[in-house]
Amino acid sequence: MHTNDNPVPAFVLDGVTKTYPGTVALAPVSLEIAMGERVAIVGPSGAGKTTLLHLLGGVTQPDQGHVLIHGQPLAAFRYGRELANLVGIIHQQFDLVPQLSVMHNVLAGRLGQWSLLYSLVSLVSPRERSLALQALEKVGITDKAYERTLRLSGGEQQRVAVARLLVQDPRVILADEPVASLDPERAEDLLRLLSNSAIEQGKTLVASLHVVSLVMRHFSRVIGLRNGKLQFDLPAGEVTEEMLEHLYKVGSIEK
């Protein structure tokens, strides 16, 4: 059905809503994201950014409408590793197993591909170490490779999570506030890493962010959400300061 110049889009959302008891997290949203795009999702807290990412990644199912991941509904993926090859998610925090070493947490990205026996062996003596070390080098913390993860700072742990993602090597990267616990320099480094991976390897990148300058520098498309509704969906160059002010000010919850 799809020809070469009309490739399968990474994501198709059609009339998707998601409700949690008491709130409507996402009002009907329809959008398409093509493979290789770098999309930023912006909006105030509670706007539904995390919900949207979870729907894209197949972590939750919509209450109405449907989601197609690379042309297929979630149910079509019979094995977890099929989906994991396609989509990888990183969250703001708390994604790593604190008691394991950094090495083990990074290699967890490969667990979907390993047999049970191999996984068990790796728990005792990590396999494919060089792969993990390469990823750790890219994020700049090889010296902590054998430390227990809980000893690392928030920023370091976030970089470990990115390293794990690199090892998992999915075709699509979904990131929920990936640089929230990093200082500006590191945040810039990390986003450059993610964005370069996208450009060089043709990966798709969808990230929710707060810092506007980072958005403008690393993403080609910006989606604005407020109260679960799509406010705008434009190429990065066409988004004005006014639009962003409007997005964040009106109706934002005062902390």
Partner: protein
């Protein structure tokens, strides 16, 4: 900048001494030593579980519990037996409540000076050395009463108190006084000091700080621990009865020694009923305390 190639296995060994790893290793060593001792030196026969002789005895025993070989009707079917043993269950329940009351009241009277933040920490009423002495004395008493198992307390108390509910309640009360005391002192030490601190800064006296800043936080947890100990105590009252303290336990021992296994079965039923009843009651009371 550290490159990946420079991470040798040696860098991993530079971990400081870890109590956890040592404890695990020590436990493993103890386990091996214990089992070796038991099997080779102490006549421990682990295959005893699998010998047919054992299973014959077990099934025989279960049969006797179910009433085989008893003359006349078995106890489970006799109403008078239910009534008689029911009175014993009543006594056992009373013993458990008395015991936990002794422990509870005793702890409430002594646990505050046993908390380090009250004895000489920031919440101390005064800097007098009396508090230091009190702290160590009370903690010492807790330790002593806790370390000696309830049954040994019972054996000692039966010496000078005639066998009965009171003796059992006292023994259990003493042992649980130590356990509950330590737990309660720890509640006070682990609590949030800010409300009490704020009250003191606002000019409240010691008693007011206690009543408004400390007790509201501490009492609910204390009550939870009290209920948890009651659940343990009801199971132990039977055991204490063995030594003569009365109730179901004493009767249990007598029935066993006379080989009245059908009565043993009836007593076991009452025992399970009591345990289940107390567990359910505690669940309800815990909800009340929230």
């Amino acid at each position: 900048m550290n490159k990946g190639a420079e991470i040798t296995p040696l860098t991993r060994l530079k971990r400081p001494f870890s109590l956890t790893t040592f404890s695990l290793a020590a436990f493993l060593a103890l386990a091996i030593a214990s089992w070796s001792f038991i099997i080779f030196l102490d006549n421990g026969d682990i295959l005893v579980l699998f010998s047919t002789d054992t299973w014959v005895r077990v099934t025989d025993f279960i049969g006797k519990l179910a009433g085989e070989g008893t003359e006349g009707r078995i106890a489970l079917f006799q109403l008078e037996e239910w009534a008689r043993t029911g009175k014993l269950a009543y006594d056992t329940l009373a013993m458990s409540i008395l015991a936990i009351s002794f422990a509870g009241v005793g702890v409430l009277l002594t646990f505050l000076p046993a908390a380090s933040n009250i004895a000489f920490g920031e919440l101390a009423p005064s800097r007098s050395p009396v508090w230091r002495v009190l702290f160590f004395t009370i903690r010492g008493v807790y330790m002593f009463t806790r370390a000696i198992p309830d049954l040994i307390w019972a054996m000692l108390i039966i010496f000078f108190l005639s066998p009965g509910i009171l003796a059992g309640a006292l023994a259990l009360g003493l042992h649980n006084y130590g356990i509950l005391g330590k737990l309660s002192a720890e509640i006070v030490e682990d609590m949030d000091p800010r409300p009490a601190r704020a009250l003191r800064a606002a000019g409240a006296g010691n008693f007011q700080m206690l009543a408004y800043g400390i007790m509201p936080q501490v009492l609910p947890k204390f009550f939870t621990y009290l209920l948890y100990r009651w659940e343990v105590v009801i199971r132990t009252t039977v055991v204490v009865g063995f030594v003569g303290a009365g109730g179901l336990g004493r009767e249990f021992r007598l029935a066993l020694s006379w080989f009245h296994y059908d009565e043993v079965a009836l007593l076991l039923v009452w025992y399970l009923l009591l345990v289940i009843a107390v567990d359910l009651l505690c669940a309800y009371l815990r909800r009340l305390a929230r």
